[in-house]
Symmetry: C3
Subunit: 148 residues, 3 copies
């Protein structure tokens, strides 16, 4: 089963992201690496630990992952060209006192493991920030290695 089929089999979809439209590109390739922009979850606007529980934000992190994959697809055409998820940075919009940022970003990490298997094992930072664009609860950026 290819990568997109695995995603569909989980009842999930990869949103379409277009190049050359917005101020920032959804993703840019240089050599064998694709760098995504930070992608937010449009369905999760507010702070984790206040407007959202960490379980809700976990779902938001999964949405961010799907948006990143949509961005990468816009650049390389076929997600089966990904040879490794190299690195992600997850930013969590934290209410005062909420520091379990890791559990939130697991929403992205777990999906990548389920879909990509060993290729999905990545380095990661999970950072609690004060604000994100449009008050998004989560924002994630990825670096992935691709083949031609």
């Amino acid at each position: 089963m290819n990568i997109e089929a695995k995603i569909h089999a989980k009842g999930l979809n990869i949103p379409e992201r277009k190049l050359g439209v917005g101020k920032a590109e959804p993703a840019v390739r240089s050599g064998n690496l694709v760098y995504t922009s930070g992608h937010t979850s449009g369905n999760h606007l507010g702070k984790v630990g206040k407007e959202f529980t960490k379980e809700q934000a976990f779902d938001g992190a999964r949405d961010c992952a799907l948006s990143c994959l949509g961005a990468i697809k816009a650049v390389i055409g076929d997600l089966d060209k990904i040879t490794r998820i190299v690195k992600i940075i997850g930013f969590v919009n934290c209410a005062e006192g909420f520091s379990d940022t890791s559990s939130v970003i697991h929403g992205c990490t777990d999906l990548l493991h389920e879909i990509f298997g060993e290729k999905g094992r990545h380095a990661r930072s999970a950072i609690g920030v004060y604000q994100l664009p449009a008050n998004s609860a989560v924002e994630i950026e990825m670096i992935v290695e691709v083949k031609d």
Copy 2:
């Protein structure tokens, strides 16, 4: 018109950044990529949404971009060797309740588009943080692709 001439034609200047002087290097090259340090705007010290409006911080983000370009020039000598602005991360020192970080970082993005055209189209994250060095309002780091 070359890149520096385009910058001068806008009434702007690229500040000189020196290698081998400070604790951190302004930028480091590895292969065909140059990674800059986070560069702040010395003219904008304070929080956006409190000491600065987003319009003022937009100018600060443009200053950060010029400082990054000065750092890249210190490494590669000639900004016309840049083949692509790959990625930027913009950090905005946010007052409570200010979340329009994207509008601030546009100050960097717009300049890159004006100067580099298609090569200037980049992936981006715009993050609202709690503090920046010396209470700077904005800090930006870049990854650019260069040719020999």
Copy 3:
């Protein structure tokens, strides 16, 4: 004297980090670059400027550096294969009003200079954030260039 001997001569140790165990990998290699996860100091839990002074957090940043080096060793086997410390991002868990993030991250930077000499000179960002995983005081991630 090789890199590990230099570290031991300073009375310091590189902690062992294992691949394939946790949710996130300690580090991942792609081409000639190794990207570490964000590594925290387990001995420093709290905010800088409140629970910790910047001098204490400086030590925490040094611990983060050692943990990153342990992660890189897990990937490449021998730290003498590092040809350049390319980039670090340091995240500092700041109490309100604390903005001297640079002085904290110097704890990592100084160690890298002492151990790696010219190869240790890196680009850097020092960011003050609102929360870090498990309320860690400091988190650092590295990108290093390696040879085969």
